[in-house]
Symmetry: C2
Subunit: 210 residues, 2 copies
């Protein structure tokens, strides 16, 4: 584990902290589409993402979903931070978008490290900052963009995080992420295809270079 830890967090944390992480951290490997966290579940540990992509979703009482943002390697989940420190339940859902590798840190260590390591404190603050910016970005998108623009940004961002111009998803899955209906997505995808921005296939969308 130590190599992967160093590769991703070596520039952030001092050696003593890396050592501690290595001792208490639990290495975890999950396949694609694995539910890492459910709404309402208690948070017992905080994940450091080493490899892969995690998508963070919001869910309302009716079970409607909305994609908030993607986490990539080097990221951690601000909600977990927030919940650990606030001792509360998770307000979000986390699902692996690809297979992923994580290091799980027991929450007791978090407070300890916050006083002990300046680099850890900075990491936590930075994470909050980054997630805060992502949230603003998400709000911008739902508030200021129309569905066709949201859809296209969704596709490009998904291509970006997975580093693949081919998006493997059904129209229904995309509709869930954007909180709309399958028909609407099909309609708008068709329009994007007519504009020669994408190519449509079964279970697969190809982003065309502009």
């Amino acid at each position: 584990m130590i190599q992967e830890l160093k590769a991703n967090y070596g520039h952030l944390f001092e050696d003593a902290l890396l050592q501690e992480i290595n001792e208490v951290g639990l290495f975890k490997e999950v396949p694609e589409d694995f539910t890492l966290m459910e709404v309402g579940s208690y948070v017992k540990s905080m994940p450091l993402l080493i490899h892969g992509v995690i998508k963070i979703l919001r869910e309302d009482k009716e079970g409607d979903e909305l994609l908030l943002y993607f986490l990539e390697k080097g990221d951690t989940c601000a909600m977990t931070l927030s919940c650990c420190l606030g001792q509360s339940k998770s307000e979000i859902k986390a699902i692996s978008e690809t297979d992923a590798k994580l290091i799980m840190i027991p929450i007791q260590k978090m407070e300890e490290w916050t006083s002990k390591y300046k680099s850890w404190r900075n990491f936590v603050f930075d994470s909050y900052h980054n997630r805060f910016m992502e949230m603003l970005d998400t709000i911008d998108k739902i508030a200021f963009l129309k569905m066709d623009e949201r859809l296209f940004t969704y596709l490009t961002e998904k291509a970006k995080v997975t580093k693949d111009n081919i998006i493997s998803a059904t129209h229904q899955e995309i509709a869930y992420d954007l909180h709309t209906s399958r028909v609407v997505i099909s309609r708008l995808l068709k329009a994007l295809e007519k504009e020669r921005k994408i190519e449509l296939h079964r279970n697969r969308i190809v982003l065309l270079p502009q």
Copy 2:
């Protein structure tokens, strides 16, 4: 100043910290509708809200606005925190909803206190947590609610923070906060009046007890 500081933050901070705040903090009193922060402005100090209500807005390139949430006494602005620590420009706009009293803390002190005082650290983390929850709430509202529900929640929340069932605002002002058009607001307000949830007057909306 020390009394107002103690009254609002005494239970949070230890005496030594209160003393420091009292020494370096700048007391500031602003009237209603005063712009405390513009998008793109540099953040030089962090506000602790002592009295009044501040509304936090998001603005896009076209100048379209959207209300994010209200800050009340005991709150601080997470964006300021985030910007101070990240050394960046403000991404939001802050306007006093009522007249307000604040204590402005120079940003240099923030880092210092973060290592020095556990209570300060907790305050900062709690603020992040609270703001994070507010953001989720805002996202829920724009993503999952229709405009009529958003309007009604807006009115009840505004009544709650100002502690007044009479809301003094024009339809246009409400439209700006909810990022829609005046006509839409007028239409929906009329419907709410027909449902006997509100009473409409010029420049004034009365929330009726249910």
